[in-house]
């Protein structure tokens, strides 16, 4: 806590920014798999409505 207080403001701001950059996912692998599944699901829905129906 003491250390955190001693940090200069720009460094603390930067640390906050780094924190924000973190993903909501537990690991990058999970993030990638979820992105793939959701994207291909979206593509399938688009195909169904634009080409197959």
């Amino acid at each position: 806590m003491e250390e955190e207080k001693a940090q200069p403001t720009p460094a603390r701001d930067h640390a906050n920014m780094e924190e924000r950059a973190l993903s909501v996912f537990a690991s990058e692998r999970n993030e990638d798999i979820t992105a793939m599944v959701l994207t291909f699901l979206s593509a399938l829905i688009v195909l169904v409505f634009t080409k197959w129906i």
């Binding site: 720009p10 701001d13 930067h14 906050n16 920014m17 924190e19 924000r20 950059a21 973190l22 993903s23 909501v24 996912f25 990058e28 692998r29 993030e31 990638d32 798999i33 979820t34 992105a35 793939m36 959701l38 994207t39 291909f40 979206s42 593509a43 688009v46 195909l47 409505f49 634009t50 080409k51």
Partner: protein, 545 residues
């Protein structure tokens, strides 16, 4: 401001954003904004705007009520959806404002300022939703800061950006690459991969972070902004590195756009040579077109050649993504003092979402989303179809024009033959006798289309009704795959959302810390590419590509 993220409850904000969206949807439905939407040329999207606002607003209210009525727990639904919802809705709202209002307004201003400035600044500086999204994010984070309720939602930006990159694969196809000339493929391939390697080498020499070098190599090697966005997650580039790369590319391109035509004229390049050089050396597509037109505004050949080279470059994007994914997983672990085997790099460390992008590209190349030869969903269709035919009035005008030998004097024999065939077949098509040989039929159709484009570009026909009919005949064979169009729209939303979120992570300090090294690397590699491609073009390309 984000420090308060833990203390402030974000529970009610989803309801507020939900209500704002539904209210906007109702205003659109009432027709009160029709005049404004028409002025902004977004009135065709009115139904989409309304539907999106009702659906997303409804979801926002339901999630908000759920948040209010129930104590938060440590479940997947709480962590991934409920806590992120206010931030997600906030980013969506910003994306809507950018796509439906800010982008069209900038476009209108740019067009209005074009006669005074002499160029369209929105096109030249690529001020589309991508750049505007980043700018809005940067301005917000460096002025009022990220609202505490949105902190958790902003963390979904990288994930959504990856969805955009995967969808990007649907826009390209391998068949389009095969359609291009051998010279352009080899030359562009050499320069794209060569530039990527030169930038990586310069980065090593100047000791810049791997992520910065990686993203800059993609931007300088391929086509600027979209390559930067696609490759940023591959090399785990930080947001400010991405913004830095985009800035470097755009500024470099603006300089080239003014310099290239002047140099081309001093050296005495022919239209084909200049088109090839501009298509190789300048990064941004709009800047390539502007330079080609500045060099030769009368003959369409320069622009066509420049476009061919530009398209070829973009089609190398999947290869560059693979090269960078391999390079980054190797250098990042070598930096940690461990050497990886090829198997480890390709299987264990390879970013999975890149496989999604490649899979989408393969699906697109097999023709699932549109004809296999499409490029960004667009393709040429010369097959016989009543919808491709000219109107009876247009046919009459064309017939009368062909019957008068005076007007035909300026036309070459192939051009005259093309017009006669257009009148006979009622549409732009290949040779009737070759209708069963699809390849030959398509090639002839394309040849005839180029002939008509040349007639129009050289203004060989003065009769406005005839030129209108000719333009219509070309328009009728240009088709678009509806699936790719919708997927592209989806991709735009993913990118707009992701880039606003990433822009919010770019602070002044972060950019200052990056220093001027990326600009030096960009300028050195860009100059090297421009000079070398000029020499190769002058040596190899005489007239035909």
């Amino acid at each position: 401001m984000a420090n308060g993220a833990q203390a402030t409850s974000p529970r009610g904000y989803s309801i507020i954003f939900g209500v704002i969206m539904i209210a906007y949807g109702l205003i659109i439905r009432s027709g009160a904004l029709t005049g404004l939407l028409k002025a902004l040329h977004t009135h065709k999207d009115a139904d989409l705007q309304m539907t999106l606002c009702f659906v997303l607003g409804g979801i926002g209210i339901v999630v908000g009520l759920f948040n209010l009525l129930r104590e938060p727990r440590d479940t997947i639904v709480d962590n991934y959806i409920l806590k992120s919802a206010p931030g997600v809705l906030f980013l969506l709202l910003l994306a809507m404002v950018i796509r439906w209002y800010l982008e069209p307004i900038v476009d209108i201003w740019s067009k209005a300022a074009a006669p005074t400035l002499g160029f369209n600044f929105a096109k030249i500086f690529n001020l589309n939703y991508v750049v505007l999204g980043i700018i809005v994010g940067i301005v917000m984070t460096n002025t009022i800061g990220i609202p505490s309720f949105a902190a958790q939602g902003v963390k979904t930006a990288r994930f959504v950006l990856k969805m955009g990159v995967i969808t990007l694969g649907a826009r390209y196809s391998l068949a389009e690459l095969a359609n291009l000339g051998q010279v352009s493929i080899w030359m562009i391939g050499f320069f794209v991969i060569g530039t990527v390697l030169v930038v990586l080498w310069l980065g090593k020499l100047l000791n810049t972070p791997h992520s910065m070098t990686g993203v800059l190599s993609a931007g300088m090697g391929v086509c600027g902004v979209s390559a930067t966005v696609a490759c940023a997650p591959v090399v785990k580039a930080k947001s400010h590195e991405m913004a830095y790369t985009i800035g470097t590319i755009l500024l470099w391109g603006v300089g080239c756009m003014f310099l290239f035509p002047t140099i081309g004229k001093i050296i005495g390049m022919n239209p084909t040579q200049f088109g090839a050089w501009a298509g190789t050396g300048i990064l941004n597509s709009a800047q390539v077109a502007a330079a080609a037109l500045a060099f030769n505004a009368v003959d369409i050949k320069t622009l066509k050649v420049a476009e061919i080279f530009n398209i070829t470059r973009v089609l190398f994007l999947p290869i560059v993504v693979l090269v960078l994914a391999y390079w980054f997983s190797k250098v990042s672990d070598e930096g940690a003092g461990r050497k990886l085997s090829i198997k480890e790099v390709l299987i264990d460390k390879f970013p999975l979402f890149v496989l999604g992008f490649i899979l989408m590209f393969i699906l697109s190349s097999t023709g699932v989303f549109g004809p296999p030869e499409h490029y960004k969903g667009k393709y040429l269709d010369f097959s016989y179809n009543q919808r491709s035919e000219l109107t009876p009035e247009e046919l009459e005008v064309l017939g009368a024009f062909l019957a008068n030998p005076e007007g035909l004097k300026k036309l070459t024999d192939p051009e005259l033959a093309t017009l006669k065939d257009l009148h006979k077949q009622r549409q732009l098509a290949g040779k009737y006798s070759e209708r069963n040989d699809k390849k030959a039929f398509h090639a002839k159709g394309k040849e005839r289309m180029v002939a008509i484009q040349s007639i129009l570009a050289a203004k060989k026909i003065k009769d406005k009704k005839v030129t209108h009919a000719l333009k219509h005949s070309i328009k009728q064979v240009h088709k678009k795959s509806k699936t790719v169009v919708v997927l592209t729209d989806l991709m735009i939303w993913f990118f707009a959302y992701g880039l606003i979120g990433l822009g919010m992570q770019i602070t002044r300090q972060a950019v200052m810390q990056a220093g001027g090294m990326p600009l030096v690397i960009g300028a050195v590699s860009g100059t090297l590419k421009a000079v070398l491609s000029l020499i190769v073009v002058l040596l190899l390309i005489k007239d035909l590509v």
